[in-house]
């Protein structure tokens, strides 16, 4: 099924916002979305969340006969699948252009960079070698599939353990996981892909485009790099003309991002290793949010606001004293209790009162954090914050 087409209004809005250095989710030009890496109970299974883009990578291995011209080397096979659950535009079994492009780029990034020592995968030269298979499944498409896929693939490869092999003369024994601990793959370096999207013929650049931004971009530059500042692959698509210094600038940004992401992957691997060693719980079940009150909790995110203090002071000075509420229940008669006082139910006025109460709390803080106010009167909770600057489209403007 075809994806809903982007309307002209949305396209114009996005391009105009990018011209004013504004992004839909409030990020800066060079900001990545929050990356979350989690591993499963099996070795080699990895989930990566890049904002709302969700990718799963699974590594498995098999003993096969090697290629004739390379009898000492193991084989690595990559496969990306665009699942129909990721986007209505993807159909199972349909070989789309995007799929071919992603597969090619992942192969160039990981295979041609020789990040995995294939000679260590040899068991019996000319007869038996390990074939490592990396399956990458896209679960949700919200832009920047290549970066997420490369992070998932390399994290899964680092996490994977292959069965130990013993050779005694002519006999080769493959030990199961119960007999002998499986051994990790020998990985030299971790190449990560960083995507740069260009708009208005290369005038504006954004790192980590989300799905909407991808729809209006002119071209894409993908740089695969490792933390030692070695470029593993570089590809420009979309047919835009890039200047030399633009490409150089992108590669500098990429090296910064890659070192951050590599650190993140290493930390995730460390945490997983620690959890397995100490016998703690690990795997996806633990990384999923529980059905608790804090399940909807999100991290404190910085919001751009400049003259919050001034405006809050103005409004607070004009505000009335909030009504005194009784925080603890009052027993009026045996068997009945009362919490709070009845307020007059006037539509619209009720919310103003609560707004002003909340603002008094906030005047001390520079950054706004959503707090539950205990002394608040029962009713719909609302917090008022004052924003600076942008012209908001509302019906009355």
């Amino acid at each position: 099924m075809r994806d809903t087409p982007l309307s002209n209004c949305e396209r114009d809005f996005l391009l105009k916002a990018i011209q004013e250095k504004k992004r839909l989710d409030g990020r800066q030009t060079y900001d990545y979305r929050s990356i979350k890496i989690s591993f499963g109970t099996d070795y080699g299974c990895c989930f990566v969340d890049l904002g709302k883009t969700r990718i799963m990578a699974q590594v498995s291995c098999e003993l096969i006969t090697p290629k004739e011209n390379r009898p000492n080397e193991g084989l690595i096979f990559f496969n990306i699948e665009l699942s129909p659950m990721a986007s209505p535009a993807f159909e199972m079994g349909r070989q789309s252009e995007l799929l071919v492009k992603l597969n090619r780029q992942l192969e160039r990034c990981l295979r041609n960079s020789k990040c995995i020592d294939t000679e260590s995968l040899c068991v019996v030269s000319g007869e038996k070698v390990w074939q490592i298979r990396v399956d990458v499944h896209l679960l949700n498409h919200d832009g920047n599939l290549m970066d997420a896929a490369s992070i998932a693939a390399i994290a899964a490869l680092c996490h994977f353990r292959r069965p130990d092999v013993g050779i005694q003369g002519e006999e080769v024994t493959v030990y199961s996981t119960e007999e002998r601990d499986p051994i990790p793959l020998s990985i030299y370096h971790m190449p990560i892909c960083v995507s740069f999207s260009f708009f208005q013929q290369g005038t504006y650049l954004l790192v980590d485009p989300c799905e909407r931004e991808e729809r209006v971009m002119d071209g894409l530059l993908m740089i695969a790099m490792n933390k030692h500042r070695e470029i593993c692959s570089i590809q420009s698509s979309g047919g835009i003309m890039l200047l030399k210094d633009q490409v150089l600038r992108c590669s500098k940004i990429a090296s910064v991002k890659v070192s951050e992401i590599t650190e993140l992957i290493n930390k995730a691997l460390e945490n997983d290793k620690k959890a397995r060693k100490t016998g703690g719980k690990f795997g996806f079940a633990e990384s999923l949010p529980q059905e608790r009150i804090t399940a909807l909790k999100t991290d404190v995110s910085p919001v751009e606001m400049s003259d919050v203090k001034e405006k809050a002071n103005e409004i607070v000075q004009r505000a009335e004293v909030p009504p005194q509420t009784v925080p603890s229940p009052v027993l009026t008669a045996p068997g009945t209790g009362q919490v709070g006082e009845g307020l007059e139910n006037s539509w619209g006025l009720k919310e103003e009162e609560e707004e002003e109460e909340e603002e008094e709390e906030e005047e001390e803080d520079e950054t706004v954090e959503l707090k539950m106010d205990e002394t608040d009167s029962p009713g719909p909770r609302s917090v008022c914050a004052v924003f600076h600057g942008h012209s908001w489209q509302d019906g009355t403007e």
Binding site: R2, T4, P5, L296, C384, A385, W392, D394, G395
Partner: protein, 296 residues
Amino acid sequence: GMAANMRLPTIRKQVSLSSSLSALDGKDLVVPGDVITSDTGFMRGHGTYMDEEKLTASVAGEVERVNKLICVRPLKTRFNGEVGDVVVGRITEVQQKRWKVDTNSRLDSVLLLSSVNLPGGELRRRSAEDELTMRDYLQEGDLISAEVQSVFSDGALSLHTRSLKYGKLGQGVLVQLSPSLIKRQKTHFHNLPCGASIILGNNGFVWLYPTPGHQDEEAGGYYTSLEPVSLSDREVISRLRNCLLALGAHKVLLYDTSVLYCYESSLPHQIKDILKPEVMEEIVMMTRQKLVELEG
């Protein structure tokens, strides 16, 4: 700078069916997997399948029985067009001698070059030059109003704009809702007394636009006025749009009367407040009351 409202998530109240109009009494609602009947004497229609001699529903909707034929009409579905339906669609592709239009159906609809009124309104054969200048009339991203002329064997709709009331849409607001909420009426073009006009497309796309003054109609629907729309008109249209979203959220059948009543009920509130859940509930409740009074 302007003040913005933020609120913490709360549990949304269930929209209770009992408070809605009596239209749902006696209707048989099923969900996928529900057994409709074990009687083998019935023929199975759309939305059903045979599961071990039992007739089971495959979509969520109401069961319809016509003599021996049982089918399930889904509550939420893509637009299944029939001949004569008025649709609002967006051009997605310009091909040889035809345009592809997105009308919220399973397949893109087709608008043939021979089915449009050329500017000037004359009836002449489409020349090769017309083919090359197709993009001058309708481009990708343009919105049009059209009527379904016929249905292809694969289910794709063939549209036509061979009347002066159809054609390219100019300045206005598009609201995308479910096709099942649009009531079938004699006419889908209304000039609402509140000061705006509305096209209720059968495919769920509703177009709100400022009521046109007395213009020349010669251009045949391709002349799009770029005159700035006055603030009062824009306010009316914004309010109507928010009312439509409120009605859509509470699954109220949309037709000119219900939209108008909703507009009137929303007047005491500010336009942007209409989007708040509690205000939406209040407005829709008042609209339903007025509609019940109208009937009874």
